[in-house]
């Protein structure tokens, strides 16, 4: 059990490690096992593999197995040495440049750019061509010289982003010295990158050595996999069919390269969980849940029955959630992110969904919008959508079981979404017009391009943005404007419901107020229902018709906003309101 917890969970990393360990063993133990010296010539010339010569013999009767294992030593040593040198250089250049900025960085940046752009292999070959001594160490150094730049650039970027991180600032504020900050605060966080860069340089080193040696530019007086290939090539081993001579070294290079790359994969996945595949992906709990499990010891547990009262609107229901339960599979077992939640959204109503981080409100809205991703899974309950109009159309729609193409038609025409951070919700490389346009092309195929553009302009005007900005790119707009654009896009197909997921959280107070006013005005005009989630209860109390308070996946209180405000019944709601009051928010 103990041992297993140390083993990497990813099969790829495990495979990679096994490969590298096997080759390391070959390099270390192999020469002790080999019965012959790598250069010792023998009477049996070009013999195929046999009991006496496991991998056969060469043109001059040398034992291929002996060469292979001694070659492993040299090839791996060159790779590792080149990797170390190249990584040290890139750390010095990248981390120091990235941390100190200014002239130092400018110099280092240009140096990096020079080496990055200058074609590596030709430079390597030219340098080696001039190299007076062809020892493996000089070859390794030259390889390092030509290969550090890529890694340095990545490290620099990482350092620049790390040095802006709060913990670096905090360490400085504590009084930590610069050297210690670099070594103890920044470097450990860049470790995945350094490790990955190191592995990459090792691969490059092994491949470059093999390539150089194969061209006759390496050190032919040492035995490496590259020189084996060179001698094999020279003796025309291909033409005489001496496969045992050239297959092992080439295959070994490819396999160890793949092994190192697989480990690298693991590092990438560790650093960027999105890249994970298969099981390891499922085990990585998504962020909201991680917060839910790290429970606040001071929060009251929802031990009491939910307090349900009539909502603030009497209109027809649009969306009905009934007994909904959503589970996550995590390494620690199943977790209920949403548990037995029932609520109703009515036409033209603003339903405020309140809850702190980890309360399950995002999981709930993601279920309604059908954007729930594995490992989350609906394990109970239903979400029903009621269309506008009469007759057969009024047949309620089972949202959770809507087939793919019907779901696509449903989306945006009936229900649209406004995300928390508009900066990320708009495609940075498309003009605003295009982001209106693709929705309309799909959902309003009969519309002409000119009409589509006109509609986009109209919608922008509606949210108080100069219609000329329709041809702008997202980055040319301020945060508030982007959020308005996002709202305008959400409105363009005249949906019945808009899910607004913390739409104003990222905005400054004054802007938030403007956007809110706009939303209220638009709702007045178009009559859509809004599911408005936020952790800011005071905001919800002010704008909502109905409020639903969630805590740890459960709905704890539901009712008309003013009822909840003036007469909170669930202890959790009461705590929230009391906190708000103490914080001066309800003054």
């Amino acid at each position: 059990m103990r041992l297993r917890s140390w083993l990497p969970t990813s099969g790829k990393v495990l495979a990679g490690l096994v490969i590298v360990v096997v080759f390391a063993l070959v390099a270390i133990v192999g020469p002790m096992v080999a019965q012959y010296g790598p250069r010792a010539s023998g009477p049996e010339v070009l013999a195929p593999p046999s009991a006496a010569h496991w991998f056969g013999t060469t043109q001059t009767g040398q034992d291929v197995f002996a060469q292979f294992v001694y070659g492993a030593r040299v090839s791996l040593a060159v790779g590792v040495f080149a990797g170390v040198v190249s990584q040290v250089v890139s750390i010095v250049v990248g981390v120091i440049g990235g941390y100190f900025r200014g002239l130092v960085d400018d110099g280092m940046y240009i140096l990096t750019a020079v080496f990055l752009v200058m074609p590596g292999m030709p430079l390597l070959i030219v340098l080696t061509g001039y190299l007076p001594s062809r020892g493996m160490i000089s070859v390794a150094v030259v390889i390092a010289i030509t290969s550090w730049a890529g890694s340095a650039r990545v490290l620099r970027a990482q350092t620049m982003s790390l040095r802006r991180r709060d913990f670096v600032e905090a360490a400085r504020a504590t009084g930590e010295s610069r050297v210690r900050i670099i070594v103890s605060e920044i470097m450990p966080n860049a470790l995945p990158l350094i490790a990955s860069g190191f592995l990459f340089s090792v691969i490059t080193g092994i491949l470059s050595e093999a390539g150089l040696s194969f061209l006759g530019l390496g050190s032919l007086t040492s035995t490496s996999w590259g020189t084996m290939l060179y001698f094999a090539q020279n003796a025309q081993a291909f033409l005489i069919g001496a496969w045992w001579w050239f297959v092992p070294p080439g295959l070994a290079i490819a396999i160890i390269g793949a092994g190192l790359a697989l480990i690298n994969f693991g590092i990438d996945e560790y650093a960027n969980p999105r890249l994970r595949t298969g099981k390891s992906r499922a085990k990585s709990a998504p962020a909201p849940l991680a917060a839910a499990t790290a429970e606040e010891p001071h929060s009251p547990v929802p031990d009491q029955e939910p307090q349900i009262r009539p909502g603030g609107s009497q209109a027809d229901p649009v969306i009905e959630v009934a007994g909904l339960t959503v589970d996550y599979d995590t390494a620690e077992g199943r977790v209920h992110a949403v548990k037995d939640v029932s609520l109703t959204v009515r036409r033209g109503e603003l339903l405020g969904l309140a809850g702190e981080s980890g309360s399950g409100k995002s999981t709930l809205t993601n279920t309604i919008t059908r954007l729930l991703r594995p490992p989350a899974e609906v394990t109970g309950g239903s979400v029903t959508y009621h269309r506008r109009g009469t007759g057969a159309q009024q047949e309620p729609v089972d949202l959770l079981h809507l087939p793919a193409d019907e779901l696509r038609r449903f989306r945006w025409t009936e229900l649209s979404i406004v995300f928390q951070s508009a900066m990320n919700a708009l495609n940075p490389v498309m003009r605003i017009s295009a982001q209106f346009d693709d929705v309309l092309r799909v959902h309003r195929p009969q519309m002409r391009p000119a009409a589509r553009l006109e509609l986009a302009r109209t919608m922008l005007t509606r949210v108080g943005i100069d219609p000329e900005r329709v041809s702008a790119y997202p980055h040319e707009l301020s945060g508030g404007m982007k959020q308005r654009v996002a709202i305008a896009i959400a409105l363009v197909c005249d949906p019945d419901v808009i899910v607004m997921d913390e739409p104003t959280t990222a905005l400054d107070l004054l802007v938030q107020r403007e956007v809110l006013d706009q939303v209220m005005a638009l709702q007045e005009e178009f009559g859509f229902a809004i599911i408005f989630t936020t952790h800011d209860l005071s905001l919800l109390l002010e704008v909502s018709d109905t409020i639903a308070v969630m805590q740890q996946g459960r709905l704890v209180e539901y009712g008309a906003a003013m009822d909840v405000y003036t007469d909170p019944r669930h202890p959790y709601t009461q705590t929230l309101l009391r906190s708000l009051s103490d914080l001066g928010a309800l003054v």
């Binding site: 913990f167 600032e169 504590t174 702190e356 400054d508 004054l510 107020r513 929230l576 914080l583």
Partner: protein, 280 residues
């Protein structure tokens, strides 16, 4: 530019840290050969008194965080002075800086980002103690670390000592940040938006903690926030910043209950408040 002085403070307690006419310019975009200067902080003066919380309120981009960093000497001011106990200090690096941080500590906004994910709690506190020479030897460091954790109400402290930041909740992390700052046994605590990333219920606990620490350690606290309500509730004096300038200052009650400056009024009006609905 002079701020509207809503109500003169009663200068009772000793001034620990003072800023006089602080100005900070940042290099902006290059325009031709000239680089545009962006004035982030313009002629800001303030005093932090022992045992008193001073709130610095403003929206993002108002320059309030820059003031905090200037006071912590994390940034050198373009002009103006910082006085510690009446003595001008300019020490953004080296031993002088470390000495300065022994008196003035700062905590940052984002509890998720302000602790290095690779270090355990004991390392964080141990370093802070070591830098300022508040503990020697393993035993002393251990003992002191436990005491710090207790001070920030993380009990039992042994439970937290060997945890990584990701094993802690947001509130717990912010407490660790406070503990780290307290390790230096400072006289001034600059708290930059200490609660804005936290849930409402935690905010209150955190501000209560800050307030009790102020009292028990006799700290001068600068509470930097965008939230007028909590400034009113937890500080005795409030300064309102807008575009790098302090536009209004005075006792918190006066500034917030009876704002004089147009900007302060707009801020108050924009704050969500269900009362308004009740009234309307």
């Amino acid at each position: 530019m002079t701020a509207i002085e809503t109500e003169p403070a009663s200068p009772t307690a000793e001034v620990v840290l003072e800023a006089r006419d602080l100005v900070k310019d940042f290099a902006g975009r290059r325009r031709g050969l000239r680089r545009e200067r962006m004035r982030a902080v313009d002629q800001v003066s303030l005093q932090l008194r022992r045992g008193e919380v001073t709130a610095l309120v403003g929206q993002s981009g108002s320059g309030k965080s820059t003031v905090g960093r200037l006071l912590a000497q994390l940034l050198p001011p373009t002009s103006g002075q910082i006085l510690l106990h009446g003595t001008p200090v300019a020490a953004t690096s080296g031993r002088a800086f470390i000495r300065y941080t022994g008196a003035v500590q700062m905590t940052l906004q984002d509890p998720f980002a302000s602790l290095n994910p690779v270090h355990r709690v004991d390392h964080v506190l141990g370093r802070a103690l070591a830098i300022h020479g508040r503990a020697r030897g393993r035993d002393q460091v251990h003992e002191q670390s436990l005491a710090l954790l207790e001070k920030v109400e993380l009990t039992p402290p042994e439970r937290y000592l060997h945890r990584f930041p990701h094993e802690l909740s947001g509130g717990e992390r912010q407490r660790i940040s406070f503990a780290r700052a307290l390790a230096a046994q400072p006289q001034v605590l600059l708290a930059d938006e200490p609660v804005s990333m936290l849930d409402v219920t935690i905010r209150k606990e955190m501000l209560d903690l800050l307030d009790s620490l102020r009292r028990s350690e006799n700290l001068a606290v600068l509470y930097i926030t965008h939230d007028l309500g909590s400034a009113r509730a937890y500080s005795s004096r409030t300064l309102v910043m807008y575009h790098g300038v302090v536009v209004e200052r005075g006792s918190s009650a006066a500034v917030i209950d009876d704002p004089q400056h147009e900007y302060t009024r707009r801020l108050l009006a924009a704050a969500p408040n269900p009362r308004r609905r009740l009234a309307g």
